[in-house]
């Protein structure tokens, strides 16, 4: 119970403290202190009506005490007037703490930071994950992850990366960067370690709530929710299960419905961007009978938006599902994706459907050479055996 409150409040509390103190490390220290005090007191005293405000006030007071002790208050605290206004003991449950999580998101996902630093910092600062957890999720040592985080924080401080929502002229690019970080976290979750998928959705929800007029924020959230709803059907033991063969009773219908509702919102806002289109495709693919020609058409639109050959490969798959494997193969053979596993496995499948078994075998063998994970290798071996 307490852990749930902590998880929900961490990002908001930390954001408020970074805004107040202008320093990541100090903010984190103060937040941790406040959460520790809460963990001691709340079980006996009960959770305050406004836990976030209580935590922020407590953390601020601790930070100010600490700064006073260091006798460098005037130098380090750049907003003394606000600091003086803080009460010594929090006694007002109606106090409203300004939500500065959006500022924090844009700071953490600033493109001047290395991508892996953006990802780690977003999970730490907004998701409230422990360094050790993040390290586990990305299969690196805790030491490495600690260094990655402190390097990112040091760059923010030294280079003057702003704690602010970018102005209108910068916003489209910078929002793209934020969405890319969240989607990357989500896709890491698909590799099935720490549940980063759920974490990415939580962050996506925060972003969509804070930017209610941005269709792509809703589009990404919808996309992640609909994919996440199918996660239990994607594996059978160790084996990868394709959409066609998935046991639909393992899907989470409530999450699919919730994802669709978010998608409706994105479409109502006029969203036609890459995440919205992908969410529409994901939604269509949850229908009992999938409208493959429409999926192919949407992939065509997505190719126009992204210029990605991998998306073009997906369009080919949709064409084949729509009943035209020969057209699909023509599309695939025009692609320059020789080092890509799914290029070869898709070719193999299309050739098989066209009755060209020998060529299909060659393609599947090439795919098998490129496979790195056990489920992928087993899946491809099975396909090869069936030929």
């Amino acid at each position: 119970m307490l852990e749930g409150v902590f998880r929900d409040e961490w990002g908001r509390v930390l954001a408020s403290l970074v805004g107040f103190l202008g320093d990541f490390d100090r903010a984190e220290e103060a937040a941790q202190e406040a959460f520790a005090i809460a963990a001691q007191r709340w079980p006996a005293s009960g959770v305050p009506a406004n836990p976030g405000a209580w935590l922020v006030t407590t953390a601020r007071n601790r930070a100010i005490d600490r700064l006073r002790r260091e006798r460098t208050l005037a130098e380090k605290l750049h907003l003394l007037p606000a600091a003086e206004a803080v009460m010594d003991e929090f006694d007002d449950d109606t106090a409203v703490i300004k939500d500065e999580r959006l500022e924090l998101i844009f700071t953490c996902c600033h493109p001047a930071l290395p991508l892996e630093g953006q990802v780690a910092l977003t999970l730490r600062a907004l998701g409230g994950l422990e360094t050790a957890e993040i390290a586990r999720a990305f299969l690196v040592s805790e030491e490495t992850m600690k260094r990655r985080l402190s390097r990112a924080k040091a760059k923010i401080k030294a280079t003057g990366i702003p704690f602010a929502v970018p102005g209108a002229h910068l916003l489209p690019d910078r929002l793209d960067a934020v969405l890319a970080v969240l989607y990357l976290i989500f896709n890491e979750g698909y590799r099935g370690r720490v549940d980063l998928g759920a974490e990415a959705i939580r962050l996506g929800r925060v972003l969509a709530a804070l930017m209610p007029d941005q269709p792509e924020a809703h589009g990404l959230l919808a996309l992640m929710m609909i994919h996440h709803a199918r996660r239990r059907a994607r594996f059978s033991g160790e084996d990868l299960v394709l959409l066609d063969d998935q046991d639909r009773s393992l899907w989470d219908p409530r999450q699919i419905a919730a994802g669709r509702a978010v998608l409706e919102r994105a479409l109502a806002l006029g969203g036609r961007g890459a995440y919205v289109v992908q969410a529409v495709i994901a939604s269509l693919q949850t229908h009992e009978r999938i409208d493959w020609p429409q999926v192919a058409e949407l992939y065509r639109r997505l190719v126009g938006l992204t210029g990605s050959p991998v998306v073009e490969l997906n369009r080919a798959v949709a064409l084949a599902q729509a009943g035209d494997p020969a057209a699909a193969l023509r599309v695939v053979d025009g692609l320059d994706l020789d080092g890509y596993l799914y290029f070869h496995s898709t070719r193999g499948e299309l050739l098989r459907r066209l009755g060209r078994d020998a060529e299909a075998r060659t393609a599947y063998r090439r795919a098998l050479d490129l496979a790195t994970s056990t489920p992928e290798r087993r899946f491809l071996s099975r396909r090869l055996d069936q030929l």
Binding site: A158, G160, I161, P162, A164
Partner: protein, 125 residues
Amino acid sequence: MQYALLVYDEPGYLDALSDEEREAAYAEYFALADDERYLGGAQLRSAETATSVRVVNGRTLMTDGPFADTKEVLGGFCLIEAADLDEAIELAARIPAARLGGVVEVRPVGLGPAGIKPAVIGTGR
């Protein structure tokens, strides 16, 4: 905060432009130099004029040429005053070399936001 904008470009890249394009690039440089956030800067002579100096065991050693032998060389620099990195990046993006195949490296000057002045480089004697 102060930032140094270090402009790396391919030598002679301006010569490869048409007269109009070159004029436009100069005009952009002049406009930047007129910006109130521009504190100073200079264009450097070609890398062939460079001498790299180091002191080893009290002896001053020198080699002909720039420190790093790369296709793009440090061709100039400016010092600017900007509110934060985003503003510095916007100014950096206005340097024509950035869109003409070069790169502008943005580096904060000094020892960080605390406002500590950079140490004076010298022997201390």
